[in-house]
Protein backbone atom coordinates (compact mmCIF):
# COMPACT_ATOMS: atom_id res chain seq x y z
CA UNK A 1 0.00 0.00 0.00
CA UNK A 2 2.88 2.34 -0.45
CA UNK A 3 2.76 2.97 -4.12
CA UNK A 4 3.85 -0.43 -5.39
CA UNK A 5 0.50 -0.96 -6.99
CA UNK A 6 0.76 2.23 -8.97
CA UNK A 7 4.31 1.41 -10.00
CA UNK A 8 3.17 -2.02 -11.17
CA UNK A 9 0.41 -0.44 -13.17
CA UNK A 10 2.82 2.00 -14.72
CA UNK A 11 5.13 -0.80 -15.70
CA UNK A 12 2.19 -2.48 -17.36
CA UNK A 13 1.25 0.60 -19.34
CA UNK A 14 4.87 1.13 -20.26
CA UNK A 15 5.00 -2.41 -21.57
CA UNK A 16 2.03 -1.72 -23.73
CA UNK A 17 3.51 1.55 -24.90
CA UNK A 18 6.79 0.00 -25.92
CA UNK A 19 5.02 -3.05 -27.22
CA UNK A 20 2.92 -0.95 -29.53
CA UNK A 21 6.03 -0.30 -31.58
CA UNK A 22 7.15 -3.87 -31.84
CA UNK A 23 4.33 -6.25 -31.12
CA UNK A 24 1.30 -6.33 -33.41
CA UNK A 25 -0.70 -7.81 -30.52
CA UNK A 26 -0.28 -4.54 -28.74
CA UNK A 27 -1.14 -2.29 -31.61
CA UNK A 28 -4.47 -3.59 -32.65
CA UNK A 29 -5.56 -0.66 -34.74
CA UNK A 30 -6.71 -1.45 -38.23
CA UNK A 31 -6.61 1.73 -40.26
CA UNK A 32 -10.06 1.45 -41.64
CA UNK A 33 -10.47 3.21 -44.92
CA UNK A 34 -7.17 1.83 -46.17
CA UNK A 35 -7.08 -1.51 -44.40
CA UNK A 36 -10.16 -3.46 -43.70
CA UNK A 37 -10.73 -6.33 -41.40
CA UNK A 38 -11.70 -9.16 -43.74
CA UNK A 39 -15.38 -9.86 -43.47
CA UNK A 40 -16.26 -13.04 -41.67
CA UNK A 41 -17.92 -15.78 -43.65
CA UNK A 42 -21.14 -15.52 -41.76
CA UNK A 43 -21.13 -11.76 -41.47
CA UNK A 44 -24.48 -10.17 -42.11
CA UNK A 45 -25.66 -6.66 -42.42
CA UNK A 46 -28.59 -6.11 -44.74
CA UNK A 47 -30.52 -8.46 -46.96
CA UNK A 48 -30.24 -8.60 -50.70
CA UNK A 49 -32.12 -10.57 -53.31
CA UNK A 50 -30.28 -13.29 -55.15
CA UNK A 51 -30.72 -13.68 -58.82
CA UNK A 52 -29.44 -16.45 -60.97
CA UNK A 53 -28.06 -16.01 -64.40
CA UNK A 54 -27.05 -12.55 -65.36
CA UNK A 55 -30.30 -10.74 -65.83
CA UNK A 56 -31.30 -9.26 -62.55
CA UNK A 57 -34.86 -8.71 -63.68
CA UNK A 58 -35.39 -12.21 -64.83
CA UNK A 59 -33.27 -14.19 -62.52
CA UNK A 60 -34.70 -13.13 -59.20
CA UNK A 61 -35.39 -16.20 -57.17
CA UNK A 62 -38.03 -14.43 -55.17
CA UNK A 63 -41.54 -15.52 -56.01
CA UNK A 64 -43.18 -12.85 -53.88
CA UNK A 65 -44.64 -15.34 -51.49
CA UNK A 66 -44.52 -12.60 -48.84
CA UNK A 67 -43.48 -14.89 -46.03
CA UNK A 68 -40.51 -12.73 -45.22
CA UNK A 69 -42.68 -9.65 -45.23
CA UNK A 70 -44.87 -11.23 -42.62
CA UNK A 71 -42.08 -12.61 -40.48
CA UNK A 72 -39.77 -9.62 -40.54
CA UNK A 73 -39.88 -8.41 -36.95
CA UNK A 74 -39.79 -4.67 -37.58
CA UNK A 75 -41.86 -4.98 -40.73
CA UNK A 76 -39.43 -3.25 -43.01
CA UNK A 77 -40.07 -5.33 -46.12
CA UNK A 78 -42.74 -4.26 -48.52
CA UNK A 79 -43.74 -6.53 -51.35
CA UNK A 80 -46.31 -6.20 -54.05
CA UNK A 81 -46.94 -9.45 -55.80
CA UNK A 82 -47.15 -9.36 -59.55
CA UNK A 83 -50.48 -9.99 -61.20
CA UNK A 84 -48.95 -12.12 -63.89
CA UNK A 85 -46.35 -14.79 -64.01
CA UNK A 86 -43.11 -14.39 -65.80
CA UNK A 87 -40.74 -17.05 -66.83
CA UNK A 88 -37.71 -17.08 -64.61
CA UNK A 89 -34.21 -17.71 -65.85
CA UNK A 90 -34.83 -21.39 -66.43
CA UNK A 91 -38.03 -20.56 -68.12
CA UNK A 92 -40.46 -21.68 -65.48
CA UNK A 93 -43.34 -19.23 -65.10
CA UNK A 94 -43.38 -17.71 -61.64
CA UNK A 95 -44.88 -14.82 -59.80
CA UNK A 96 -42.39 -12.14 -59.17
CA UNK A 97 -42.32 -9.14 -56.88
CA UNK A 98 -43.61 -6.09 -58.68
CA UNK A 99 -42.32 -4.05 -55.82
CA UNK A 100 -39.80 -5.29 -53.32
CA UNK A 101 -38.59 -2.62 -50.97
CA UNK A 102 -36.52 -2.92 -47.89
CA UNK A 103 -36.16 0.08 -45.67
CA UNK A 104 -32.66 -0.44 -44.40
CA UNK A 105 -33.10 2.45 -42.05
CA UNK A 106 -35.38 0.14 -40.11
CA UNK A 107 -33.92 -3.28 -40.77
CA UNK A 108 -32.40 -4.81 -37.67
CA UNK A 109 -30.12 -7.20 -39.54
CA UNK A 110 -31.71 -10.14 -37.84
CA UNK A 111 -31.61 -12.55 -40.75
CA UNK A 112 -35.08 -13.88 -40.01
CA UNK A 113 -36.21 -13.11 -43.53
CA UNK A 114 -33.38 -15.29 -44.77
CA UNK A 115 -34.28 -18.09 -42.45
CA UNK A 116 -37.93 -18.17 -43.33
CA UNK A 117 -37.62 -17.76 -47.06
CA UNK A 118 -38.40 -21.14 -48.58
CA UNK A 119 -36.85 -20.24 -51.90
CA UNK A 120 -33.35 -19.21 -50.88
CA UNK A 121 -34.17 -15.93 -52.52
CA UNK A 122 -33.04 -13.48 -49.91
CA UNK A 123 -29.63 -13.48 -48.32
CA UNK A 124 -27.56 -11.26 -46.10
CA UNK A 125 -25.05 -8.86 -47.53
CA UNK A 126 -21.86 -7.80 -45.82
CA UNK A 127 -21.83 -4.30 -47.23
CA UNK A 128 -21.90 -1.71 -44.48
CA UNK A 129 -20.67 1.52 -46.06
CA UNK A 130 -24.13 2.88 -46.51
CA UNK A 131 -24.09 6.05 -44.52
CA UNK A 132 -25.98 8.69 -46.32
CA UNK A 133 -27.09 12.25 -45.75
CA UNK A 134 -30.38 11.51 -47.42
CA UNK A 135 -32.62 9.35 -45.33
CA UNK A 136 -35.43 8.51 -47.71
CA UNK A 137 -33.57 8.67 -50.96
CA UNK A 138 -30.54 6.84 -49.74
CA UNK A 139 -31.81 4.20 -47.43
CA UNK A 140 -35.00 2.92 -48.93
CA UNK A 141 -33.77 0.21 -51.24
CA UNK A 142 -35.86 -1.08 -54.09
CA UNK A 143 -35.52 -4.37 -55.86
CA UNK A 144 -33.07 -3.05 -58.40
CA UNK A 145 -30.68 -2.04 -55.71
CA UNK A 146 -31.33 -5.16 -53.75
CA UNK A 147 -30.72 -7.59 -56.55
CA UNK A 148 -27.28 -9.13 -56.48
CA UNK A 149 -26.01 -12.04 -58.48
CA UNK A 150 -25.48 -15.51 -57.20
CA UNK A 151 -21.80 -15.07 -57.95
CA UNK A 152 -21.72 -12.18 -55.54
CA UNK A 153 -23.38 -14.39 -53.00
CA UNK A 154 -20.72 -16.98 -53.55
CA UNK A 155 -18.09 -14.39 -53.11
CA UNK A 156 -19.27 -13.19 -49.72
CA UNK A 157 -20.58 -16.38 -48.18
CA UNK A 158 -18.64 -19.12 -49.84
CA UNK A 159 -19.56 -22.15 -47.79
CA UNK A 160 -23.13 -21.18 -47.24
CA UNK A 161 -23.71 -20.43 -50.91
CA UNK A 162 -22.22 -23.75 -51.92
CA UNK A 163 -24.56 -25.52 -49.52
CA UNK A 164 -27.50 -23.59 -50.80
CA UNK A 165 -26.62 -24.39 -54.37
CA UNK A 166 -26.23 -28.03 -53.56
CA UNK A 167 -29.54 -28.05 -51.78
CA UNK A 168 -31.28 -26.28 -54.60
CA UNK A 169 -29.77 -28.66 -57.08
CA UNK A 170 -30.88 -31.60 -55.00
CA UNK A 171 -34.34 -30.17 -54.67
CA UNK A 172 -34.50 -29.50 -58.33
CA UNK A 173 -33.37 -33.02 -59.08
CA UNK A 174 -35.93 -34.34 -56.68
CA UNK A 175 -38.62 -32.18 -58.13
CA UNK A 176 -37.71 -33.25 -61.60
CA UNK A 177 -37.65 -36.85 -60.56
CA UNK A 178 -40.96 -36.39 -58.93
CA UNK A 179 -42.32 -34.60 -61.93
CA UNK A 180 -41.08 -37.37 -64.10
CA UNK A 181 -42.63 -39.93 -61.82
CA UNK A 182 -45.75 -37.89 -61.73
CA UNK A 183 -45.73 -37.63 -65.45
CA UNK A 184 -45.32 -41.35 -65.67
CA UNK A 185 -48.02 -41.84 -63.14
CA UNK A 186 -50.11 -39.40 -65.01
CA UNK A 187 -49.50 -41.22 -68.18
CA UNK A 188 -50.47 -44.39 -66.46
CA UNK A 189 -53.46 -42.72 -64.97
CA UNK A 190 -54.38 -41.20 -68.27
CA UNK A 191 -54.14 -44.61 -69.61
CA UNK A 192 -56.58 -45.54 -66.93
CA UNK A 193 -58.58 -42.54 -67.97
CA UNK A 194 -58.57 -41.13 -64.56
CA UNK A 195 -58.12 -37.51 -63.70
CA UNK A 196 -55.16 -36.63 -61.68
CA UNK A 197 -53.22 -33.48 -61.51
CA UNK A 198 -50.43 -32.70 -59.19
CA UNK A 199 -48.48 -29.59 -59.01
CA UNK A 200 -45.46 -30.46 -57.05
CA UNK A 201 -44.42 -27.86 -54.61
CA UNK A 202 -40.96 -27.65 -53.23
CA UNK A 203 -42.20 -28.53 -49.83
CA UNK A 204 -39.16 -29.32 -47.71
CA UNK A 205 -38.48 -26.51 -45.44
CA UNK A 206 -34.86 -25.46 -45.41
CA UNK A 207 -35.17 -23.23 -42.45
CA UNK A 208 -32.45 -24.24 -40.15
CA UNK A 209 -29.30 -24.57 -42.05
CA UNK A 210 -28.06 -28.07 -41.65
CA UNK A 211 -24.90 -28.74 -39.69
CA UNK A 212 -21.78 -27.96 -41.55
CA UNK A 213 -20.13 -31.19 -40.67
Amino acid sequence: MLGEGIIKGMVETARNFVGSYSDPERLTTVEYPEDKIPAKENARNFPFLVYDGDDAARGLRCVACQICEKECPPKCIYIVKSKDKKPDYIGKPQFYPAVFDIDVSVCMSCQICVEVCPFEAIKMDTEFELSNPDRFGGLLQDKHRLAKSNEYYHKIHETEAAEVDARLAAEKAKAEAKARADAEAKAAAAAKAATAAATPKPAPNPTTVAPAK
Binding site: K40, A43, M108, V209
Partner: protein
Amino acid sequence: MFMETAIDTPESKYEILPKTLSNGEMDGELLEVAMGPQHPSTHGVFRMDVVLDGEKVVKLKPVFGYLHRNHEKIAENTTYLASMPYTDRLDYLCSMTNNWAYALSVEKLAGLQPPERAEYIRIITGELTRLVNHTCLVGFLLQDMGALGTPLMYAFREREMILDLFESLSGSRMMCNYMRFGGCRVDLPAGWLEQAKRAVDSYSGFLDEFEKLLTENEILVARTQGIGVLPPDLAVNASITGPMLRASGVNYDIRKVDKYGIYDRFEFRVPLGDHGDVYDRYMIRLLEMRESVKILNQALRDIPAGPIVDPKAKLRGFRPKVGEAYGRIEGPKGELGFYLISDGTPNPYRYRVRPPSLINLTVLEDMCLGQDVADVVIILGSVDIVLGEVDR
Protein backbone atom coordinates in the same frame (compact mmCIF):
# COMPACT_ATOMS: atom_id res chain seq x y z
CA MET B 1 -37.41 26.29 6.00
CA PHE B 2 -35.16 25.07 3.28
CA MET B 3 -36.47 21.57 3.57
CA GLU B 4 -39.52 22.30 1.50
CA THR B 5 -37.57 23.85 -1.26
CA ALA B 6 -34.96 21.21 -1.52
CA ILE B 7 -36.95 18.02 -1.28
CA ASP B 8 -39.95 17.72 -3.43
CA THR B 9 -41.74 14.48 -2.88
CA PRO B 10 -43.41 14.46 0.47
CA GLU B 11 -44.18 10.77 0.33
CA SER B 12 -40.57 9.85 -0.23
CA LYS B 13 -39.68 6.52 1.12
CA TYR B 14 -36.67 7.33 3.16
CA GLU B 15 -36.76 9.61 6.03
CA ILE B 16 -34.69 12.60 5.23
CA LEU B 17 -31.78 12.99 7.52
CA PRO B 18 -32.15 15.70 10.06
CA LYS B 19 -30.49 18.64 8.45
CA THR B 20 -31.04 20.98 11.29
CA LEU B 21 -28.42 20.57 13.90
CA SER B 22 -29.31 19.79 17.45
CA ASN B 23 -28.96 23.37 18.57
CA GLY B 24 -30.98 24.72 15.73
CA GLU B 25 -28.01 25.73 13.64
CA MET B 26 -27.65 24.66 10.10
CA ASP B 27 -24.64 24.23 8.01
CA GLY B 28 -24.71 24.46 4.32
CA GLU B 29 -27.60 23.95 2.02
CA LEU B 30 -28.86 20.95 0.24
CA LEU B 31 -27.95 20.95 -3.38
CA GLU B 32 -30.14 19.08 -5.77
CA VAL B 33 -28.22 17.76 -8.72
CA ALA B 34 -29.51 15.72 -11.57
CA MET B 35 -27.01 13.18 -12.78
CA GLY B 36 -28.22 12.16 -16.16
CA PRO B 37 -29.85 11.39 -18.50
CA GLN B 38 -26.92 12.66 -20.50
CA HIS B 39 -24.09 12.16 -18.14
CA PRO B 40 -20.66 10.78 -18.75
CA SER B 41 -20.92 8.07 -16.20
CA THR B 42 -24.43 6.82 -15.93
CA HIS B 43 -23.84 4.21 -18.60
CA GLY B 44 -26.48 5.45 -20.89
CA VAL B 45 -29.63 7.34 -20.32
CA PHE B 46 -30.04 6.76 -16.65
CA ARG B 47 -30.75 9.55 -14.30
CA MET B 48 -30.27 9.94 -10.62
CA ASP B 49 -31.72 12.86 -8.79
CA VAL B 50 -29.24 13.36 -6.05
CA VAL B 51 -29.61 15.62 -3.09
CA LEU B 52 -26.25 16.62 -1.77
CA ASP B 53 -25.20 17.96 1.52
CA GLY B 54 -21.79 19.29 0.60
CA GLU B 55 -20.38 16.28 -1.13
CA LYS B 56 -22.48 13.76 0.75
CA VAL B 57 -25.52 12.13 -0.70
CA VAL B 58 -28.54 12.47 1.51
CA LYS B 59 -31.08 11.33 -0.99
CA LEU B 60 -30.94 9.63 -4.31
CA LYS B 61 -33.79 8.80 -6.60
CA PRO B 62 -33.17 6.79 -9.69
CA VAL B 63 -35.27 7.84 -12.65
CA PHE B 64 -35.89 5.28 -15.34
CA GLY B 65 -37.63 5.04 -18.61
CA TYR B 66 -35.39 7.03 -20.89
CA LEU B 67 -34.80 3.90 -22.86
CA HIS B 68 -38.19 2.30 -22.43
CA ARG B 69 -38.50 0.76 -25.87
CA ASN B 70 -41.67 -1.22 -25.26
CA HIS B 71 -39.96 -4.51 -25.83
CA GLU B 72 -42.65 -6.46 -24.00
CA LYS B 73 -45.48 -4.84 -25.88
CA ILE B 74 -43.82 -5.42 -29.22
CA ALA B 75 -43.14 -9.02 -28.30
CA GLU B 76 -46.77 -9.58 -27.43
CA ASN B 77 -47.74 -8.38 -30.87
CA THR B 78 -45.37 -10.58 -32.75
CA THR B 79 -44.42 -14.21 -33.03
CA TYR B 80 -42.26 -16.12 -30.65
CA LEU B 81 -39.45 -16.30 -33.16
CA ALA B 82 -39.52 -12.63 -34.03
CA SER B 83 -38.87 -11.74 -30.41
CA MET B 84 -35.57 -13.54 -30.46
CA PRO B 85 -33.65 -10.73 -32.17
CA TYR B 86 -35.23 -8.28 -29.77
CA THR B 87 -33.79 -10.11 -26.80
CA ASP B 88 -30.37 -9.29 -28.21
CA ARG B 89 -31.14 -5.70 -27.60
CA LEU B 90 -32.15 -6.09 -24.00
CA ASP B 91 -28.80 -6.31 -22.39
CA TYR B 92 -26.87 -5.38 -25.44
CA LEU B 93 -23.57 -6.49 -24.05
CA CYS B 94 -24.71 -10.06 -23.59
CA SER B 95 -26.92 -11.03 -26.46
CA MET B 96 -26.03 -14.71 -26.24
CA THR B 97 -27.21 -15.17 -22.69
CA ASN B 98 -30.38 -13.25 -23.43
CA ASN B 99 -31.04 -15.55 -26.35
CA TRP B 100 -30.41 -18.47 -24.13
CA ALA B 101 -32.75 -17.37 -21.39
CA TYR B 102 -35.52 -16.73 -23.86
CA ALA B 103 -34.94 -19.98 -25.69
CA LEU B 104 -34.91 -21.81 -22.38
CA SER B 105 -38.23 -20.35 -21.35
CA VAL B 106 -39.87 -21.13 -24.65
CA GLU B 107 -38.47 -24.64 -24.49
CA LYS B 108 -40.06 -25.00 -21.08
CA LEU B 109 -43.33 -23.73 -22.43
CA ALA B 110 -43.32 -25.95 -25.47
CA GLY B 111 -41.50 -28.92 -24.07
CA LEU B 112 -38.48 -28.91 -26.31
CA GLN B 113 -35.12 -30.38 -25.50
CA PRO B 114 -32.03 -29.09 -27.24
CA PRO B 115 -29.55 -31.75 -28.27
CA GLU B 116 -26.24 -32.24 -26.58
CA ARG B 117 -24.07 -30.34 -29.01
CA ALA B 118 -26.39 -27.37 -28.85
CA GLU B 119 -26.14 -27.38 -25.08
CA TYR B 120 -22.39 -27.29 -25.30
CA ILE B 121 -22.47 -24.47 -27.79
CA ARG B 122 -24.79 -22.60 -25.51
CA ILE B 123 -22.48 -23.00 -22.60
CA ILE B 124 -19.50 -21.92 -24.63
CA THR B 125 -21.18 -18.85 -26.03
CA GLY B 126 -22.80 -18.09 -22.71
CA GLU B 127 -19.55 -18.16 -20.81
CA LEU B 128 -17.82 -16.15 -23.51
CA THR B 129 -20.57 -13.61 -23.04
CA ARG B 130 -19.91 -13.59 -19.35
CA LEU B 131 -16.28 -12.83 -20.09
CA VAL B 132 -17.25 -10.00 -22.39
CA ASN B 133 -19.68 -8.54 -19.92
CA HIS B 134 -17.42 -8.68 -16.91
CA THR B 135 -14.47 -7.36 -18.85
CA CYS B 136 -16.41 -4.42 -20.12
CA LEU B 137 -17.89 -3.80 -16.73
CA VAL B 138 -14.52 -3.63 -15.09
CA GLY B 139 -13.32 -1.33 -17.83
CA PHE B 140 -16.27 0.96 -17.40
CA LEU B 141 -15.93 0.91 -13.66
CA LEU B 142 -12.37 2.07 -13.93
CA GLN B 143 -13.41 4.64 -16.45
CA ASP B 144 -15.85 5.99 -13.91
CA MET B 145 -13.02 6.16 -11.47
CA GLY B 146 -11.26 8.41 -13.90
CA ALA B 147 -8.69 6.05 -15.37
CA LEU B 148 -8.83 7.82 -18.69
CA GLY B 149 -9.70 4.91 -20.81
CA THR B 150 -6.68 2.69 -20.48
CA PRO B 151 -8.39 -0.21 -18.69
CA LEU B 152 -11.40 0.25 -20.91
CA MET B 153 -9.22 0.06 -23.98
CA TYR B 154 -7.60 -3.13 -22.77
CA ALA B 155 -11.01 -4.51 -21.96
CA PHE B 156 -12.31 -3.71 -25.38
CA ARG B 157 -9.21 -5.16 -26.96
CA GLU B 158 -10.16 -8.50 -25.45
CA ARG B 159 -13.81 -7.95 -26.20
CA GLU B 160 -12.99 -7.59 -29.86
CA MET B 161 -11.42 -11.03 -29.81
CA ILE B 162 -14.56 -12.58 -28.49
CA LEU B 163 -16.74 -10.51 -30.75
CA ASP B 164 -14.74 -11.88 -33.65
CA LEU B 165 -15.74 -15.33 -32.47
CA PHE B 166 -19.36 -14.32 -32.22
CA GLU B 167 -19.29 -12.70 -35.58
CA SER B 168 -17.85 -15.67 -37.35
CA LEU B 169 -20.39 -17.85 -35.62
CA SER B 170 -23.54 -15.81 -35.90
CA GLY B 171 -22.71 -13.10 -38.38
CA SER B 172 -23.08 -10.16 -36.11
CA ARG B 173 -20.79 -8.69 -33.55
CA MET B 174 -23.26 -7.70 -30.94
CA MET B 175 -26.71 -8.80 -31.93
CA CYS B 176 -26.11 -12.46 -32.40
CA ASN B 177 -29.69 -13.71 -32.65
CA TYR B 178 -28.10 -17.09 -32.50
CA MET B 179 -30.16 -19.45 -30.42
CA ARG B 180 -33.38 -21.01 -31.50
CA PHE B 181 -36.07 -22.88 -29.64
CA GLY B 182 -34.66 -26.34 -29.23
CA GLY B 183 -31.14 -25.58 -30.33
CA CYS B 184 -29.01 -23.13 -32.19
CA ARG B 185 -29.28 -21.52 -35.56
CA VAL B 186 -26.15 -22.70 -37.30
CA ASP B 187 -23.39 -25.04 -36.46
CA LEU B 188 -19.92 -23.89 -35.60
CA PRO B 189 -17.99 -22.91 -38.69
CA ALA B 190 -14.79 -24.72 -39.50
CA GLY B 191 -11.88 -23.75 -37.32
CA TRP B 192 -14.07 -21.98 -34.84
CA LEU B 193 -13.24 -24.23 -31.95
CA GLU B 194 -9.52 -23.75 -32.44
CA GLN B 195 -9.94 -20.04 -32.61
CA ALA B 196 -12.04 -20.10 -29.50
CA LYS B 197 -9.44 -22.17 -27.70
CA ARG B 198 -6.79 -19.65 -28.61
CA ALA B 199 -8.91 -16.80 -27.36
CA VAL B 200 -9.69 -18.56 -24.12
CA ASP B 201 -6.08 -19.50 -23.57
CA SER B 202 -4.92 -15.96 -23.97
CA TYR B 203 -7.60 -14.74 -21.64
CA SER B 204 -5.86 -15.75 -18.44
CA GLY B 205 -2.88 -13.78 -19.57
CA PHE B 206 -5.05 -10.80 -20.14
CA LEU B 207 -6.62 -11.17 -16.72
CA ASP B 208 -3.18 -11.26 -15.18
CA GLU B 209 -2.24 -8.13 -17.02
CA PHE B 210 -5.40 -6.45 -15.93
CA GLU B 211 -4.88 -7.36 -12.33
CA LYS B 212 -1.33 -6.12 -12.45
CA LEU B 213 -2.55 -2.90 -13.90
CA LEU B 214 -5.22 -2.35 -11.33
CA THR B 215 -6.01 -4.71 -8.56
CA GLU B 216 -3.25 -3.55 -6.29
CA ASN B 217 -3.44 0.03 -7.36
CA GLU B 218 -3.67 2.04 -4.18
CA ILE B 219 -6.04 4.50 -5.69
CA LEU B 220 -8.43 1.81 -6.82
CA VAL B 221 -8.30 0.15 -3.43
CA ALA B 222 -8.85 3.40 -1.62
CA ARG B 223 -11.70 4.32 -3.87
CA THR B 224 -13.53 1.03 -3.67
CA GLN B 225 -13.00 -0.62 -0.33
CA GLY B 226 -15.74 0.06 2.14
CA ILE B 227 -17.77 1.93 -0.44
CA GLY B 228 -21.35 1.04 -1.24
CA VAL B 229 -21.64 -1.76 1.25
CA LEU B 230 -24.59 -4.04 0.70
CA PRO B 231 -25.42 -6.27 3.65
CA PRO B 232 -26.43 -9.81 2.70
CA ASP B 233 -29.83 -9.76 4.37
CA LEU B 234 -30.84 -6.67 2.48
CA ALA B 235 -29.43 -8.13 -0.70
CA VAL B 236 -31.58 -11.22 -0.42
CA ASN B 237 -34.66 -9.34 0.54
CA ALA B 238 -34.25 -6.92 -2.32
CA SER B 239 -33.89 -9.77 -4.78
CA ILE B 240 -30.38 -8.84 -5.74
CA THR B 241 -28.82 -11.46 -7.94
CA GLY B 242 -25.66 -12.19 -9.77
CA PRO B 243 -22.16 -11.12 -8.85
CA MET B 244 -23.55 -8.34 -6.73
CA LEU B 245 -25.32 -10.81 -4.50
CA ARG B 246 -22.32 -13.06 -4.28
CA ALA B 247 -20.08 -10.13 -3.42
CA SER B 248 -22.25 -9.75 -0.35
CA GLY B 249 -21.44 -13.30 0.56
CA VAL B 250 -24.64 -15.10 -0.37
CA ASN B 251 -23.99 -18.33 -2.15
CA TYR B 252 -26.60 -18.40 -4.86
CA ASP B 253 -25.69 -19.13 -8.42
CA ILE B 254 -28.43 -20.42 -10.67
CA ARG B 255 -25.91 -22.39 -12.65
CA LYS B 256 -25.44 -24.40 -9.47
CA VAL B 257 -28.98 -24.22 -8.13
CA ASP B 258 -31.00 -24.98 -11.23
CA LYS B 259 -28.26 -26.79 -13.08
CA TYR B 260 -29.92 -25.67 -16.25
CA GLY B 261 -28.40 -26.65 -19.54
CA ILE B 262 -25.69 -29.05 -18.65
CA TYR B 263 -23.92 -27.01 -16.04
CA ASP B 264 -23.82 -29.95 -13.69
CA ARG B 265 -21.19 -31.54 -15.88
CA PHE B 266 -18.66 -28.82 -15.34
CA GLU B 267 -16.36 -28.20 -12.54
CA PHE B 268 -16.28 -24.64 -11.36
CA ARG B 269 -16.49 -22.72 -8.15
CA VAL B 270 -18.54 -19.76 -7.09
CA PRO B 271 -16.47 -16.95 -5.60
CA LEU B 272 -18.02 -15.17 -2.65
CA GLY B 273 -17.11 -11.87 -1.09
CA ASP B 274 -17.17 -10.97 2.57
CA HIS B 275 -17.69 -7.26 2.55
CA GLY B 276 -20.19 -6.56 -0.14
CA ASP B 277 -18.48 -3.36 -1.18
CA VAL B 278 -17.45 -2.10 -4.58
CA TYR B 279 -14.07 -3.71 -4.33
CA ASP B 280 -15.64 -7.08 -3.66
CA ARG B 281 -17.93 -6.67 -6.62
CA TYR B 282 -14.96 -5.86 -8.77
CA MET B 283 -12.97 -8.79 -7.49
CA ILE B 284 -15.85 -11.24 -7.70
CA ARG B 285 -16.17 -10.44 -11.35
CA LEU B 286 -12.50 -10.97 -11.96
CA LEU B 287 -12.67 -14.29 -10.13
CA GLU B 288 -15.78 -15.31 -12.01
CA MET B 289 -13.98 -14.66 -15.23
CA ARG B 290 -11.29 -17.06 -14.18
CA GLU B 291 -13.94 -19.66 -13.38
CA SER B 292 -15.54 -19.02 -16.74
CA VAL B 293 -12.25 -19.70 -18.41
CA LYS B 294 -12.20 -23.02 -16.59
CA ILE B 295 -15.68 -23.91 -17.79
CA LEU B 296 -14.77 -22.89 -21.30
CA ASN B 297 -11.71 -25.07 -21.30
CA GLN B 298 -13.78 -28.06 -20.26
CA ALA B 299 -16.54 -27.36 -22.73
CA LEU B 300 -14.22 -26.74 -25.63
CA ARG B 301 -12.49 -30.00 -24.81
CA ASP B 302 -15.61 -32.13 -24.47
CA ILE B 303 -17.97 -30.80 -27.09
CA PRO B 304 -19.49 -33.71 -28.99
CA ALA B 305 -20.61 -33.86 -32.59
CA GLY B 306 -24.26 -34.18 -33.44
CA PRO B 307 -27.32 -32.25 -34.45
CA ILE B 308 -27.90 -28.78 -33.14
CA VAL B 309 -31.67 -28.51 -33.14
CA ASP B 310 -34.43 -30.50 -31.57
CA PRO B 311 -36.23 -32.10 -34.52
CA LYS B 312 -39.57 -31.29 -32.88
CA ALA B 313 -38.84 -27.56 -33.15
CA LYS B 314 -40.71 -25.62 -35.77
CA LEU B 315 -39.62 -22.35 -37.19
CA ARG B 316 -42.76 -21.18 -38.88
CA GLY B 317 -46.18 -21.62 -37.39
CA PHE B 318 -44.88 -22.17 -33.91
CA ARG B 319 -47.77 -22.28 -31.45
CA PRO B 320 -47.12 -23.56 -27.96
CA LYS B 321 -49.94 -25.02 -25.94
CA VAL B 322 -51.98 -22.86 -23.61
CA GLY B 323 -50.14 -22.37 -20.38
CA GLU B 324 -47.35 -20.44 -18.85
CA ALA B 325 -43.72 -20.89 -18.02
CA TYR B 326 -40.98 -19.06 -16.25
CA GLY B 327 -37.43 -19.88 -17.21
CA ARG B 328 -34.32 -18.30 -15.84
CA ILE B 329 -30.60 -18.44 -16.20
CA GLU B 330 -27.65 -16.97 -14.42
CA GLY B 331 -26.90 -14.12 -16.73
CA PRO B 332 -23.73 -12.15 -16.31
CA LYS B 333 -25.67 -9.51 -14.47
CA GLY B 334 -27.84 -11.78 -12.41
CA GLU B 335 -30.95 -13.82 -12.78
CA LEU B 336 -32.36 -13.24 -16.21
CA GLY B 337 -35.82 -14.73 -16.51
CA PHE B 338 -38.55 -14.81 -19.09
CA TYR B 339 -42.15 -15.31 -18.10
CA LEU B 340 -44.38 -16.37 -20.93
CA ILE B 341 -48.09 -16.99 -21.13
CA SER B 342 -49.31 -18.72 -24.20
CA ASP B 343 -52.90 -18.62 -25.34
CA GLY B 344 -52.30 -20.99 -28.15
CA THR B 345 -51.79 -18.36 -30.80
CA PRO B 346 -48.50 -17.69 -32.59
CA ASN B 347 -47.94 -14.64 -30.40
CA PRO B 348 -47.32 -14.87 -26.68
CA TYR B 349 -50.20 -13.54 -24.61
CA ARG B 350 -47.85 -12.21 -22.00
CA TYR B 351 -44.18 -11.80 -22.43
CA ARG B 352 -42.20 -10.56 -19.53
CA VAL B 353 -38.53 -10.10 -18.92
CA ARG B 354 -37.20 -10.24 -15.44
CA PRO B 355 -34.44 -7.70 -15.78
CA PRO B 356 -31.62 -8.24 -13.30
CA SER B 357 -30.24 -4.77 -13.95
CA LEU B 358 -33.44 -3.08 -12.89
CA ILE B 359 -33.95 -5.14 -9.79
CA ASN B 360 -30.35 -4.78 -8.73
CA LEU B 361 -30.94 -1.06 -8.69
CA THR B 362 -33.46 -1.44 -5.90
CA VAL B 363 -30.73 -0.99 -3.35
CA LEU B 364 -28.90 1.78 -5.14
CA GLU B 365 -30.13 4.41 -2.78
CA ASP B 366 -29.34 2.32 0.27
CA MET B 367 -25.81 1.86 -0.92
CA CYS B 368 -25.29 5.48 -1.80
CA LEU B 369 -26.68 7.25 1.22
CA GLY B 370 -23.94 8.90 3.17
CA GLN B 371 -21.38 8.39 0.47
CA ASP B 372 -19.77 11.02 -1.69
CA VAL B 373 -21.03 12.01 -5.12
CA ALA B 374 -17.89 10.59 -6.58
CA ASP B 375 -18.75 7.28 -4.98
CA VAL B 376 -22.19 7.25 -6.46
CA VAL B 377 -20.87 6.80 -9.93
CA ILE B 378 -18.65 3.90 -9.00
CA ILE B 379 -21.36 2.29 -6.94
CA LEU B 380 -23.62 2.53 -9.93
CA GLY B 381 -20.83 1.20 -12.07
CA SER B 382 -20.35 -1.74 -9.76
CA VAL B 383 -24.02 -2.63 -9.92
CA ASP B 384 -23.50 -3.26 -13.60
CA ILE B 385 -26.57 -2.06 -15.37
CA VAL B 386 -27.41 -1.89 -19.00
CA LEU B 387 -30.18 0.49 -19.76
CA GLY B 388 -31.66 -1.61 -22.48
CA GLU B 389 -32.51 -4.10 -19.82
CA VAL B 390 -33.44 -1.70 -17.07
CA ASP B 391 -36.03 0.07 -19.15
CA ARG B 392 -36.68 -2.57 -21.80
